[in-house]
């Protein structure tokens, strides 16, 4: 253990001062004055002083120098210190009783002097403090030794200090330790860089705090790697534990951030310092990916490994020269056809070492990757493989492409493309015959540069397979954002999925997503038929692995080529040709989508709203058989582009507005589907369609499914049933005339026309005039009534021949122009359509004043009203109803329109009288007994009618007994649009799956949101709250709040001495205290011993007194030996704080101070 005065000043917050005086008593006096505030080292003569200054030049904050000293005079020491650029920045205060020397010393460079006999202690301390402050302020400008994020040393300084430390402690045994965060990229990816930085800072603080106790120095090596150099013999578990403080809960939470650690114990000091830490890093990497081992120790095994590695590196040049490396080929099969077909092969390298025998690539590849030799090896493999392909090509007269590996380091080679093209040229190959595999981790390391290179490669035709997907930092987002042509699932990933606790969920999701992005998936390491079949069923395209063949030498591989050639002769298989690698697509996520929408749709879109990627499925009339029609990068943009081409003109605006991304998402914010009915123009005819949008999954909110179904026939059926044509025509006429001022009905054979004008209330169309030559009259009128700028356009539009031609093409024609009304230009819209009828001899022109709608708000309002117009029909049609009842409320007679087969079993009358009473009677047979009282209470005619009067709708959810099972159904009643119509429509839909799912979801959410030990809110809940608050901060809507961080003291000791059970009780007790203090605020358990309360409203106002309450509690607790809780409070500063994390950080710091203070008590 280091003695306290030998510690590095920087790690315990104390500055280091060298006291140089030959008199022991003087040194003792200064020691007694300074030791509380400073770390001290001493020198008793001038030479020693100079040596120590040089040794500690990086850490010394000040030198107190006695001018009269033996061996070397203080003045000479001062001169040398100030002459040396390495030491001249260290401030020196001279101590002297000799006034003449004072001036001289100041001239040489002393910063100040202290006289002898010494002034009072306070004076000395004040002068020293001031001197250090001044000189540090000056140095801060060129200080580069610290990492700005964590405040720890950076790597270079760390190594230098470590060396210096060794000089100073030659006989002290030391340990080199490396700490690494598991999957740090994932943390950044999932929670954002700001959170990642917070994590790094917390680790930095924890490690710094740790060496405070044990001695040593620490630094951040890079990204998420920390290094510790400390005296040998620490409890490594304790170190890891300490470094993990503040990184999340004790329970097996999957979000938990874990550190791993590598130790090179009792270092060999003859090794360079960098090598020592390389060894620690090696030990650390050894436990990477292990769930059980978190600490790796550099030992003989690793030592042997190191020696072995050294030998391999040494032998490499000879191996290349003597062709010891051999290229093997492992086939990849297309498994989608009934009989799998050879699609390509991967070239894999083997090393036949003359002394060591066959060496596994798993051994030498990572090694060569580390030291860059891999580049030479890759080049070797590329040339060998390319020559082999050429040889096969010549001999078999056809090509099966081969993929080669491109290492990360190759991607930085500016000559990469030249090299690869050279290889192709030399062997007469194309980019379709020579595929490239790039490891996934390359993508994550330095994305931008890599992506640029990949894009360049693809631009000249290379096809890129992303290798090793699923090993490192795989994220699903990567597949959708990175330029790749195929995705290769890592062998280990496949093995895990098919291991004993077979869990293929993740696999399915990845395949699904790749699927919908049209990226083919290749599974590596497939060993059994079962695996192959399962993968094929999931939609995986290609399979590589022992199931088909291990990697084999070229001559053995040839048998696959022969086989393939025979197949080709008998049944040519398009899809295995390399050019349609991105094959036309297939089933996949169909099941899920079909499920999400239980009724049949003609067209279904599956959309990821995070990146707007989508897949369009269409049924071509057969609902069970949706096919992917296409996919694209921006659903909303593509859809809006299609509106003018496909949607009936009257409905275009409404559709366009409803299908804005924001509008649609806000509609779907609840769990309700969004439904809209509108007309598409199909073969020149308007057809009613219902669009239904739902969220695809309850567990994520960024996939939506949109279905389109043709409801034209249903609408007609509804219209032509019991209830007369008026419904149809009146509603259509109303919709059409809603905003129309005049309508012209023109016979295009005779050009005679009728002009209708709407009455003031837009209710009825009245015949205004008739005429004989519509087009001629228009031409004459144009000058009088059309605004000057628009005259030409209108004249051209109203040219009879071209108008009719347009109509034949597009069915409708619209034109916006300005009419002069009382000398003012006002916007008008003209719509021209064919009149109904088979002969197409009449057209209808509607003219509407749109000037009043010109502002966005008014437009929106118009849309809303239009939506309401269709709501009743749309709802009745689209909600997956079992059954629709059409009820005349005058006499309670009803008709049932349709019924699901299952529902038919209930034997409900399909028409009849006295709907309400009959229903009340029936339900006693079919409704779950528990729900009967509720149903009878709610479902009376009076209640239904008054609810309709009040809310436009009446809904009731209850359980039916279907096939003996209670099943949730949802009843919804709506009135007809026309208030004079006394009919209501009631639909009953099966919402069982949805409700059960919601219940399950709610249960799961409750579980996820609550800490299982204490019952307070969990870290998960906290991160949700955090998101919410961050959003309101971003939109400037956040109300004042404060964050209180509470940390239980001594939990570790309780766990260690009394066991974890007592520890758990301790946490629970502490939690009660915290909850009692912050009674009215949400309390979250965010770490093993850490709680956070978010104070708003009254608790916010009373925040200071609440903290006092916590203090009071601690005071009492201290007396009885109870639980102590360190608290820290911080208040949200509107305008300054950009996130909850910023407030939390301050609160956490306050808490740490408090905790330190409490330890001192």
């Amino acid at each position: 253990m280091l003695k306290s005065h030998e510690r590095f000043h920087s790690e315990n917050g104390k500055r280091l001062i060298l006291v140089a005086d030959d008199e022991a008593i003087n040194r003792e006096i200064l020691r007694s004055i300074l030791q509380d505030d400073y770390e001290l080292i001493f020198a008793e003569n001038g030479q020693v002083t100079l040596d120590k200054i040089r040794e500690n030049k990086h850490t010394l904050a000040l030198v107190l120098l006695d001018l009269m000293m033996p061996v070397m005079n203080g003045m000479d020491v001062l001169r040398q210190v100030k002459a040396d650029p390495e030491t001249q920045q260290i401030p020196v205060i001279v101590i002297t009783s000799d006034q003449t020397s004072e001036v001289e010393s100041l001239n040489i460079g002393a910063i100040d002097f202290i006289p002898k006999p010494y002034p009072q202690a306070g004076v000395i301390l004040a002068r020293i403090r001031r001197t250090i402050e001044l000189s540090e302020d000056r140095q801060i400008i060129n200080s580069t030794e610290r990492d700005t994020l964590t405040g720890l040393y950076n790597r270079e300084y760390f190594y230098r200090y470590a060396e210096q430390f060794d000089q100073h402690h030659r006989n002290l045994d030391m340990d080199a330790i490396v700490l690494d965060v598991n999957h740090f990229h994932m943390i950044n990816e999932r929670f954002g860089n700001a959170y990642g930085d917070t994590v790094l800072r917390r680790i930095g603080e924890a490690v710094r705090e740790m060496v405070l106790d044990t001695g040593g120095i620490v630094c951040r090596r890079e990204a998420d790697t920390f290094m510790v150099y400390c005296p040998h013999g620490k409890d490594y578990n304790a170190i890891l534990e300490h470094a993990s403080i503040g990184l999340g809960g004790d329970d097996a939470d999957e979000n938990r951030i874990r550190l791993r650690m590598g130790v090179y114990a009792n270092v060999d000091k003859s090794l360079e310092i960098e090598r020592r830490f390389d060894r620690a890093k090696m030990a650390c990497d050894m436990v990477q990916g292990s769930f059980t081992r978190r600490i790796g120790i550099y030992d003989d095994t690793l030592r042997e490994k190191e020696l072995y590695a050294e030998q391999l590196i040494e032998d490499f040049p000879t191996a290349i020269r003597e062709h010891q490396f051999q290229v093997y080929y492992q086939p990849k099969f297309d498994v989608q056809p009934d009989i799998p077909v050879l699609a390509s092969a991967e070239a894999l390298v083997r090393w036949q070492h003359p002394e060591l025998g066959m060496i596994s690539p798993g051994v030498f590849i990572p090694l060569f990757e580390d030291n860059g030799l891999i580049q030479a090896l890759d080049n070797y493999v590329w040339s060998t493989a390319a020559a082999q392909i050429r040889e096969w090509k010549e001999r078999f007269d056809f090509v099966v492409p081969v993929s080669v590996n491109v290492s990360r380091i190759d991607m930085y080679d500016p000559h990469l493309i030249d090299t690869l093209q050279g290889v192709l040229k030399e062997n007469g190959l194309t980019t379709h015959e020579f595929l490239l595999e790039i490891t996934e981790s390359a993508y994550t390391m330095d994305s931008e540069q890599i992506i640029e290179t990949v894009n360049d490669l693809r631009a000249i035709g290379f096809q890129i397979e992303m290798d090793d997907f699923g090993t490192g930092y795989s994220s699903l987002n990567m597949i959708s954002t990175l330029p790749i042509d195929a995705l290769k699932l890592d062998m280990q990933f496949i093995r895990n999925a098919f291991s004993q606790r077979k869990d293929t969920k993740m696999l399915e999701v990845i395949i699904d997503i790749a699927d919908y992005l049209s990226v083919p998936v290749i599974a590596e390491g497939v060993e059994t038929e079962e695996q192959m079949l399962a993968l094929r069923a999931m939609g995986c395209d290609f399979v590589q692995g022992y199931y088909f063949s291990r990697p084999v030498p070229p001559d053995e591989y040839e048998k696959f080529m022969v086989e393939r050639k025979e197949q080709l002769a008998t049944m040519p298989l398009e899809r295995t040709s390399t050019s349609n690698y991105i094959a036309e697509r297939k089933e996949g996520s169909m099941g899920k989508i079909a499920h999400a929408l239980s009724s049949g749709f003609e067209v279904v879109y599956y959309i990821d709203t995070e990146n707007n990627y989508y897949v369009k499925f269409s049924s071509e009339g057969c609902y069970e058989d949706l096919q992917i029609e296409r996919s694209g990068g921006d659903f909303f943009e593509d859809y809006l582009h299609s509106v003018p081409l496909t949607v009936y003109p009257d409905d275009q605006e409404r559709v366009a507005l409803s299908m804005q991304k924001e509008t649609l998402l806000s509609q779907l914010a609840g769990s309700h589907p969004f439904v809209m009915t509108y007309r598409l123009v199909i073969d020149g005819e308007p057809m009613y369609y219902t669009l239904k949008a739902v969220r695809a999954y309850t567990h994520d909110n960024h996939h939506i499914v949109i279905g389109l179904s043709n409801v034209n026939e249903q609408l007609k059926a509804l219209d032509s049933g019991e209830h007369p044509n008026e419904l149809h025509f009146s509603s259509l006429a109303q919709a059409l005339s809603h905003d129309v001022e005049s309508i012209y009905y023109i016979d295009i054979n005779s050009d005679t026309y009728m002009e209708f004008k709407t009455d003031g209330a837009y209710r009825r169309l009245e015949l205004e005039t008739t005429g004989t030559n519509f087009f001629e009259e228009c031409k004459k009128n144009i000058k009088e009534v059309i605004f000057e700028d628009d005259r030409n356009r209108v004249a051209m539009a109203l040219d009879k021949e071209s108008l009719l031609e347009t109509l034949r093409e597009r069915y409708v024609y619209t034109l916006v122009y300005r009419l002069l009304i009382d000398g003012e230009p006002l916007y008008y819209n003209m719509k021209v359509v064919w009149a109904e009828g088979p002969k197409r001899d009449h057209i209808i022109i509607g003219v509407s004043n749109i000037d009043a709608q010109i502002t966005e708000e008014e437009k929106a309002e118009a849309i809303r009203q239009a939506t309401v117009t269709y709501a009743s029909i749309a709802h009745a049609l689209a909600m997956d109803y079992f059954s629709i009842y059409y009820i005349d409320t005058d006499n309670d007679s009803f008709i049932e329109y349709s019924s699901a087969p299952q529902y038919k079993k209930l034997n409900i009358e399909t028409n009849g009288d006295d709907f309400f009473n009959l229903s009340r009677e029936n339900i006693k047979r079919v409704v779950h007994p528990d729900d009967i009282p509720m149903f009878l209470e709610a479902f009376t005619k009076e209640k239904v009618m008054s609810s309709l009067e009040r809310d436009e709708t009446f809904t009731l959810t209850y359980r039916l007994i279907l096939d003996g099972e209670p099943t949730y159904v949802h009843m919804k009643a709506t009135r007809m649009e026309n208030r004079a119509d006394h009919h209501i429509v009631i639909g009953v839909s099966n919402v069982n799956t949805q409700i059960r799912r919601e219940q399950e979801h709610a249960r799961a959410m409750r579980k996820a949101n609550h800490d299982s030990l204490t019952g307070v809110k969990s870290l998960h809940a906290y991160s949700e709250t955090e998101q919410r608050i961050n959003q309101s901060i971003a939109s400037d809507e956040q109300q004042p709040f404060a964050v209180a961080v509470c940390d239980i003291n001594d939990l570790k000791r309780v766990n260690e001495t009394l066991g974890n059970r007592a520890g758990d009780q301790y946490i629970k007790d502490a939690c009660v205290v915290v909850c009692n203090v912050f009674k009215h605020s949400p309390v979250y358990r965010v770490g093993g011993d850490e709680f956070v309360a978010i104070l708003q409203g009254n608790d916010y106002v009373a925040r200071e007194s609440l903290m006092t309450l916590l203090e009071d509690n601690n005071r009492m607790s201290r007396q009885i030996g109870g639980i102590l809780i360190a608290g820290g409070l911080a208040t949200y500063e509107a305008g300054a704080d950009e996130s909850l994390a910023a407030v939390y950080d301050r609160a956490n710091t306050a808490m740490y101070w408090n905790k330190q203070r409490m330890k001192g008590l």
Partner: protein
């Protein structure tokens, strides 16, 4: 051996309060340092230098003693030490034995405390 007290030192003539002030008011520490003065090799060094008529070495020894005695405010010895320091610094050729005897006498008194 009886332990020396602050009162002893006061009676002896040391400016105890001043010296104590430099020792952060820590009496035990102050007494310990005064105890160290009794063993200080500087006295012997001074004696030898004077005997050898080495004025430079004598100055260095006296100067060092002066600093310590001043810090601890042991006035009875400090006064003759200051005197001899200045004479030696100036390289004055003279008979130092009387002054030296005075210093050693006061030191003995201190040692007797």
């Amino acid at each position: 051996m009886e332990t020396m007290t602050l009162d002893d030192l006061r009676a002896y003539g040391a400016n105890v309060d001043e010296g104590l002030g430099r020792c952060m008011g820590n009496e035990e520490f102050y007494l310990r340092l005064v105890g160290m003065v009794k063993e200080d090799a500087g006295f012997a060094a001074l004696e030898q230098a004077i005997a050898a008529n080495d004025l430079k070495a004598g100055f260095e020894a006296a100067h060092a003693l002066k600093g310590v005695l001043a810090n601890l405010a042991i006035t009875p010895i400090l006064e003759p030490v200051m005197e001899i320091t200045e004479l030696l610094r100036a390289g004055t050729e003279m008979d130092y034995s009387e002054l030296l005897a005075k210093i050693l006498e006061e030191k003995e008194k201190l040692c007797a405390l």
